[in-house]
Amino acid sequence: AQRVTQPEKLLSVFKGAPVELKCNYSYSGSPELFWYVQYSRQRLQLLLRHISRESIKGFTADLNKGETSFHLKKPFAQEEDSAMYYCALSFNAGGTSYGKLTFGQGTILTVHP
């Protein structure tokens, strides 16, 4: 069975400091990893996905299959980055997957001025 672990429930940094939100997963096949974000009073929305290898709002995440990790990083945090961040995993099992997401517990990031 697949599992996603986000070890930090809370993470506080000061504006301009680097930030790293950790995510580890367990899945025996080829996973697809995502970061979703939920800003205050807003809905869950996709931040980035490993398959795109993109940088969104200055955030990047690299899939490390050896360490089974997909940590989210940003070199200089901004106050508007304060939100709940969820790491999520999906998979494509021979074309039979229908996109089910398995979420981690979430990390509340607070960026102080």
């Binding site: 979703y36 809905r43 494509n92 229908y98 996109g99 089910k100 997401l101 979420f103 981690g104």
Partner: protein, 115 residues
Amino acid sequence: EPEVTQTPSHQVTQMGQEVILRCVPISNHLYFYWYRQILGQKVEFLVSFYNNEISEKSEIFDDQFSVERPDGSNFTLKIRSTKLEDSAMYFCASSRFVAGGREQFFGPGTRLTVL
């Protein structure tokens, strides 16, 4: 920009009553999902729905739960006889594709309180 909508935003019900949570997915999407989040816990998958049938469901999704897409627009989650432990935030989501890093678009959620 099109969004997933959910009604009601908050539903309060008595234990044993039936509730129907409603969702309107994005119009050209083909895959539909329900998730729930009990307070303080992680978001959990309940069920996925494609081509007018359930494609996958979790252990949580027992006989008390059912889903329907009655009119090609709405996507509903019914809980036949609610229990206290069904109190949670319920999220609907939809996606256009399932291949290769597809994005699921989430609704704002319905907070269900069972008394």
